[in-house]
């Protein structure tokens, strides 16, 4: 039997509020101090109250801002995620994201000490890159709309099922997919298993037509080595997951995923530099450019492990993903964050993501002019040996009724081998894998 007492004469915010409100009950004071938030229980009447009362609504509204340093790509993405819960366990979900991209992206050609001229994807114009600058092509008006929706409901006492679709459209790309999953809980609800399948079909219609793989870039004005008519790609993904409660303060999850893609896998706007490989003063200089070529199928497999644990100091989240595919790429992703309270309504969550990737088998910085290129080759640094580090800080303000508003600030830093041993002649000394750094901001309101 423990006894504690306090001589704390100053009541806190809640104490004062309750004291004042209780006084008002019996003394007839009419101005009650109101809590600074809308009254959840006092709903307005009319049309909107009809919708609000029809289901239990929850969700998030947010905005992503992404800006690469050195003025490369900038993106602005508002999005909304809505859940309508019926009778507690049937849920309809809809998610809408609008993606607006501006700026310029690398076209795959290698940085050179000479100025370089490229044909724009439309084939109707040229653009020049200065010496020592990374060759970039304009994103033009790249906006994308993505919609996804699903319905989930219990099938039996312990079994739950869901089905949904996703759709996205940008001016040169259309994607439509269906997914379905089933999940089962153990009797004591401490373990849950899930199996999901998703099938997606994409149609690509590159601006200016689809470049013929490995064809040499032709200056604007002349007939372009491109075919009209568009391309398609289809993907089948399967995900198997288990989640387990270890104790009151600790829960873990593990997923196995397999994905198979078939069809057009190239980036139609990317090229590979063909460099002069004759010994002499011109060794390493860019001679021409060929359009990249990737295999027409890809098999990806990954293992994902995650853990969330609570202590009186805060909540620690950790996750690790190991991914490998038949293009030769292997990657490791380690994410961690720690969420803790700094006052009764404010929380902070510092976080760190570390990513490392080994290149696909057909990645080349550039190919030599005397090589016979009949195989797959890409100079897209996104498929090269690289690593990225993303530190971040999230500031969260908790509001009443489980609502919260948060601001997330991150800095993305990607680096790769700037002086690979494959560099020859004039390539040596150039920064052949320029750093990619970007500021990321996310503002999200959840209710």
């Amino acid at each position: 039997m423990q006894l504690k007492n306090s001589n704390n004469k100053k009541a806190g915010k809640i104490g004062k509020l309750i004291t004042h409100a209780a006084l008002a009950l019996t003394c007839g004071i009419t101005n009650l101090p109101s809590v600074k938030a809308e009254t959840q229980s006092a709903k307005s009447s009319g049309y909107f109250s009809g919708i609000r009362n029809w289901a239990d609504w929850s969700g998030e509204v947010g905005l992503l801002g992404y800006s690469e340093t050195e003025g490369r790509v900038q993106a602005f993405e508002p999005g909304i995620n809505l859940n309508a819960k019926f009778d507690g366990d049937r849920v309809w979900n809809i998610k809408l994201i609008y993606d607006s991209l501006t700026g310029a992206s690398p076209n795959g050609a290698l940085i050179s000490g000479q100025p370089q001229t490229f044909t724009s994807p439309s084939g109707r114009a040229n653009y020049t890159t200065q010496p020592g600058q990374i060759p970039l092509y304009d994103q033009f008006k790249d906006s994308r709309v993505a919609v996804s929706s699903s319905w989930s409901q219990p099938l039996t006492r312990l079994l739950k099922g869901s089905a949904g679709f996703n759709f996205s459209k940008e001016y040169d790309y259309l994607s439509l997919g269906f997914n379905s999953s089933i999940s089962k809980e153990s009797e004591d609800k401490n373990t849950s298993y899930s199996l999901g399948v998703s099938f997606t079909n994409d149609s690509i219609n590159p601006v200016g037509g689809t470049p013929i793989e490995l064809a040499t870039m032709v200056p604007s004005g002349s007939a372009q080595p491109k075919t009209q008519g568009g391309e398609t790609k289809s993907t089948l993904d399967v995900l198997l997951g288990v989640s387990q409660v270890i104790n009151r303060n600790w829960i873990v999850q593990g997923n196995l995923s397999v994905g198979i893609s078939n069809g057009y896998m190239n980036d139609p706007y990317k090229m590979v530099t063909v460099h002069d490989d004759t010994t002499g003063p011109t060794l390493g200089d860019p001679l021409s450019y060929i359009y990249e070529s990737r295999p027409d199928s890809r098999l990806k497999q990954s293992v994902y492990l995650a853990s969330k644990s609570y202590s009186k100091y805060g909540i620690l989240s950790l996750s690790y993903r190991f991914l490998t595919d038949d293009w030769g790429l292997t990657s490791h992703t380690l994410e961690s964050n720690f969420n803790f309270a700094i006052s009764s309504n404010w929380r902070l969550q510092p976080g760190l993501r570390i990513y490392s990737q080994s290149a696909v088998d057909f990645f080349r910085y550039s190919v030599g002019s005397s090589e016979t290129t009949t195989q797959n080759v890409t100079a897209d640094t996104r498929l090269g040996d690289m690593m990225s580090i993303t530190p971040g800080l999230k500031i969260i303000k908790k509001l009443e009724n489980d609502r919260e508003v948060s601001l997330l600030l991150q800095y993305y830093m990607q680096t790769g081998d700037k002086s690979p041993s494959s560099a020859v002649g004039s390539q040596v000394g150039q920064d052949l894998f320029p750093d990619l750094n970007a500021f990321i901001v996310q503002i999200i309101y959840s209710f």
Partner: protein, 98 residues
Amino acid sequence: MRNSTINNQNNFQNSYMTNLFVFLKFSLIKIFTLFYFIFVTAACSSMGVKPWEREVLSKKEMTFGAYVLEAGFEDHTYFSKEGSSGGRSFSAGGCGCN
């Protein structure tokens, strides 16, 4: 950094035989991990909590998949700058990114 040349066995990469081999080799690791997980969860019946011990687990921050929009934004950002995708859950839809 590997110094690969074009003249290696790339032309077998796309054949079904190699695909199957890679799939099977990695399958062993996968199957092992899956069975390890199932074994651990089934064998340790002392793991888990009673219904009244779920106050902490019911917090949003202790739930996997609670922050949907944030996860979607992040997946999309990383997917467009790196060679990997997915693993956590299903990504909603494709784009011409990688």
